[in-house]
């Protein structure tokens, strides 16, 4: 199986008390200060008015980032855009590396005073491209070996579960690690 357009979401540990308006200046600052290194960041889109929508988005050339509200659960989502099909191991590694780096950057934003933390034991992964995969048991089964190998490497073991039964949704998997570990530790493994 080859995949493309992988998305990864890490959830905020405690979203109560988080003022989502704060993400707007943070993302503008990331663009201004090239906070994500050589990733080309373009603009900030505010979708907070949409119920369980993408919240505040940071639009990029290769990928978008969002403080996403899908499912009513605030989290940082990395969403790869134009992307050639490729080996799942490499695609997963790239998406997790980018998402972890962004999550760490967000945690370190002074405006949150260290109170914004992401759960490191839980991630949602999606393969957005329907060319690569249609959601369903078959695609899940095809992806599972690569995903298991990857999550074993990253987390030292994790439970995998399909995210949606809806065949129209992008193929999605919940990864629940057996133990939480610092994001930085996870990033160091990639």
């Amino acid at each position: 199986m080859q995949i493309q357009q992988t998305s990864v979401k890490f959830f905020v540990e405690d979203a109560s008390g988080v003022d989502d308006a704060a993400f707007i200046p943070v993302f503008h600052g990331w663009i201004r200060e090239h906070r994500l290194g050589d990733r080309l960041l373009i603009d900030v889109a505010d979708y907070r008015h949409v119920h369980h929508g993408p919240g505040v988005m940071l639009i990029g050339d290769q990928a978008h980032y969002a403080m996403d509200l899908a499912g009513g659960r605030l989290g940082l989502k990395y969403d790869r855009k134009r992307d050639a099909p490729g080996d799942p191991a490499a695609k997963l590694e790239e998406a997790f590396r980018e998402a972890l780096a962004a999550a760490l950057a967000m945690e370190q934003e002074p405006v949150f005073g260290g109170r914004l933390r992401f759960r490191s034991d839980l991630a949602h992964v999606r393969v957005v491209s329907r060319l690569a995969a249609s959601n369903g048991p078959e695609a899940f089964a095809a992806l599972e070996p690569s995903l298991r190998a990857f999550s074993d490497r990253l987390y030292g073991g994790a439970a995998l579960k399909p995210l949606d039964a809806d065949p129209r949704a992008p193929l999605g998997v919940e990864i629940r690690a057996l133990a939480a570990q610092p994001l930085l530790t996870l990033l160091a493994r990639l």
Partner: protein, 752 residues
């Protein structure tokens, strides 16, 4: 081979046989054009028009420059120098407009667009004021794949943008409201596909917007604001249309004029074709800002335009398609999915509130239409799929998008309403208030539009939230008002026909730019957009919510009986309204409250560049602003004169206002300028026009020409009211252009 090309070809293989042949071929051709452009073998301007005609539009920052709040940074896209239009970088994200004739969309089509939003855009489907869906932040390389997938579900994006016949709009209640003599749906459909790609519609100088309306008195199709508006009428038992032409908003709004009071159904297509031919043949081509049909109608006069159209009609070679569809008008009859039923009992206050504003009985007993309110026209991909599910469960495919950026379900059995409402609640789109004051309409504005001056969506979002929070406390008549916001004078938010309209402008305050909105009052939503409002004054963006509160309170407190808002403004006069809002024009100094110097939903300082605020510059700023404020005052006095019925005074004052603005600008360079009209005009030409300083980046010389025109032909006694009204509009735009020119002169150090 690029990534986009790879998956575009993969989709091509996968969808072979599922795309209609001609559509598939057109997309292949476009893909080839893309390749030629990559190789530099097609001129960028030609390519730009080609992509526009496929619905692929530019977006803000696509020139590769973006101000980050401190300085302008170059966005280093990987494509290097490659462009897809003048100053439009190939790799920069753009907008894809998906043209949905009449706003009709099926469950399958919505589902597909949800996939496209996730894969190529930002997971949001945006409903526009022309019943289209737009996807934002789309890469051009993804567009062939996107178009192929749309083609496979019967959608073409052809002629969604560019100099073409744009999406044909029709009232979302057509055929089920009971108010119209007959359902215009099959006629609108026939005209759409007759004109699509027709050889007589390929040579326009600008776009042509067409709308159908079933009723005269409702807002329905907003015929008055369209290039071509068609109202259903029955005469002597025969179906036909009143035909209106030459309407339009934008920077120079014009109400449509009656071309003929009865065009038979057999003549609908040929007459429309003849109009297109006359537009293509006689319309302006070189000066983009004069190229809309309204200018041609104005230039020729409606009588001459009519003569040309009927003359053209007489010589058109006959086409079978003119009438072939008439034998199958029933093809668009909708069959309900569920049996008719009535609703009994109490289903709670939340449901009752939603039903009161979002549900309308249909002409067919036991059925209703239900409007789904989308905030700012936005829905997520998963909400779109949820709406498709609801359609399949309750109504079949009877979904329409509206010009108020909502979704309407037709043929909902009344007894199903509570279950339908529950379905909407699960999707988070069950808000009450459709078509009321909380249902604010907004164009994209500075969020994504290249021409945006102020954040109309940011403003819309704030107004929606604030008004919704106190909806129960609002006077019932305030709840019925319509608010619309445009990010600039191009009026895509249709602010002229709102009760309360806003149009984005900027002002220079103490050497910093501040986002403002002109308040537009006096517009009429009903009667197909029956009257256009006029701008009353500019208010800092951050004060606009207070403006709305103050204005609506004033109306309720001082109106006579149940006087409507528009009538109230007409009676008490604009001076009273302006006076009541006067303090809201003020802005605290930057050091006291910097929040005024950012726009809604944007953390960046609104000012452009690092402007000096030295004392010398400060003096100049004060003096010029004073002069421009004089000009605005005179333009306002012109409005008052018009209200009094003194058209000549109104026209004269508005011209005077233009001279004041000219004088203020010239004094930046030449303080002792003589003040007679000829000297001012000569200095204006030499210093500001010929040097290009006054030239608007998008509208070119248009505003300067307003001034030269009145200098050569000042208003004469006996000037008509409409002419004076137009003079005021032109003066207002001229003064705005003077503000913009002043800002540019400051930035480029051209003052003194």
């Amino acid at each position: 081979m690029t990534t986009g090309t790879t998956w575009s070809r993969a989709w091509r293989e996968r969808l072979l046989g599922r795309m209609p042949g001609p559509l598939a071929e057109e997309i292949d051709i476009f893909e080839t054009q893309m390749e030629l452009r990559r190789q530099g073998r097609i001129d960028e301007k030609l390519f730009a028009e080609s992509r526009l005609r496929r619905g692929i539009y530019g977006q803000r920052y696509d020139n590769g420059q973006r101000h980050d709040g401190v300085r302008t940074q170059t966005l280093s896209f990987p494509c290097g120098e490659l462009t897809k239009g003048t100053q439009t970088v190939w790799d920069a994200p753009g907008m894809m407009r998906i043209k949905l004739p009449l706003g009709r969309v099926s469950a399958e089509q919505i589902e597909l667009m949800a996939d496209l939003a996730e894969e190529y855009a930002d997971s949001i489907l945006h409903v526009t004021t022309r019943q289209d869906i737009q996807l934002h932040f789309v890469h051009i390389e993804d567009t062939p794949a996107l178009m192929r997938r749309l083609a496979a579900v019967g959608i073409t994006t052809r002629e969604a943008c560019g100099n073409s016949v744009r999406n044909v709009t029709t009232c979302q209640f057509a055929g089920v409201c009971g108010g119209a003599p007959f359902d215009p749906t099959p006629y609108a459909h026939a005209l759409t596909y007759f004109l699509l790609g027709h050889k007589d519609t390929q040579d326009f100088g600008r776009k042509l917007k067409v709308a159908f309306s079933g009723c005269r008195d409702e807002a329905c199709g907003l015929l008055n604001i369209h290039d071509l508006g068609l109202l259903t009428v029955v005469r002597d038992g025969r179906r036909g249309f009143e035909v209106y032409v030459g309407g339009g908003l934008g920077s120079v709004p014009r109400p449509a004029l009656l071309l003929t009071d009865f065009c038979t159904e057999q003549e609908l297509l040929p007459l429309s074709q003849a109009i297109c031919r006359v537009f293509a043949r006689h319309g302006e081509k070189a000066k983009r800002n004069k190229a809309r049909l309204k200018f041609l109608v104005e230039k020729l006069g409606i009588d001459e335009f009519r003569r040309l159209v009927f003359e053209e009609r007489a010589v058109l070679p006959p086409e079978d398609r003119w009438t072939s569809y008439l034998g199958d008008l029933g093809a668009f009859d909708e069959a309900p999915l569920r049996p008719a039923s009535t609703l009994e009992g109490d289903h709670g206050p939340v449901f009752a509130a939603w039903r009161a504003t979002n549900v309308r009985p249909q002409a067919q007993p036991g059925y209703v239409t239900a409007t789904v309110r989308l905030p700012l026209g936005d829905m997520t991909s998963w909400q779109a799929r949820g709406l498709a599910d609801l359609a399949r469960r309750f109504t079949g495919d009877h979904i329409r998008l509206t010009i108020e950026q909502n979704v309407v379900f037709r043929w909902v059995a009344e007894g199903d309403l509570p279950a339908f409402h529950q379905g909407l609640e699960a999707l988070g789109v069950a808000d009450a208030g459709a078509g009321t004051v909380v249902d604010v309409v907004s164009c994209p504005g500075t969020d994504t539009c290249k021409l945006g001056i102020s954040s109309s969506r940011g403003l819309g979002s704030v107004l929606q939230a604030r008004l919704a929070a106190k909806a129960d406390a609002l006077h019932p008549d305030v709840r019925k008002l319509h608010i619309k916001a445009s990010g600039c004078f191009n009026s895509c938010g249709q602010h002229h026909v709102a009760d309360i309209g806003f149009l984005g402008v900027s002002r220079n305050v103490g050497g910093r730019r501040v986002a403002h909105f002109q308040l537009v009052v006096g517009g009429e939503w009903t009667n197909n957009g029956g009257a256009y409002g006029l701008a009353i004054g500019a208010y800092p963006s951050k004060n606009v919510p207070a403006v709305v509160d103050r204005l609506t309170s004033l109306w309720i407190a001082e109106r006579e009986g149940s006087e409507r808002f528009q009538a109230f403004v007409g009676r008490v006069g604009r001076a009273r309204v302006k006076e009541a809002l006067e303090d809201l024009t003020r802005i605290p100094p930057y050091h006291e409250d910097p929040s005024f110097y950012t726009d809604w939903g944007d953390a960046r300082e609104y000012t452009v560049g690092d402007m000096g605020v030295g004392e010398c510059a400060g003096e100049v700023v004060s003096s010029t602003q004073f002069g421009l404020a004089d000009a605005e005052r005179e333009a306002f006095q012109a409005q008052l004169a018009l209200e009094r019925g003194d058209a000549f005074a109104a026209a004269t004052l508005s011209v005077q206002a233009m001279y004041s603005a000219v004088k203020a600008l010239i004094r930046l360079q030449f303080f002792d300028v003589k003040e007679d009209a000829d000297s001012l005009a000569a200095e204006f030409r030499a210093r500001l026009h010929d040097t290009g300083l006054f030239r608007d980046p998008f509208m070119g010389d248009k505003f300067a020409q307003f001034f030269f025109k009145v200098h050569e032909e000042p208003p004469a006694a006996g000037v008509a009211r409409d002419e004076a009204h137009r003079q005021i509009e032109e003066a207002t735009l001229f003064i705005e252009a003077a503000h913009a020119c002043y800002d540019r002169m400051q930035e480029h150090g051209r003052a003194n």
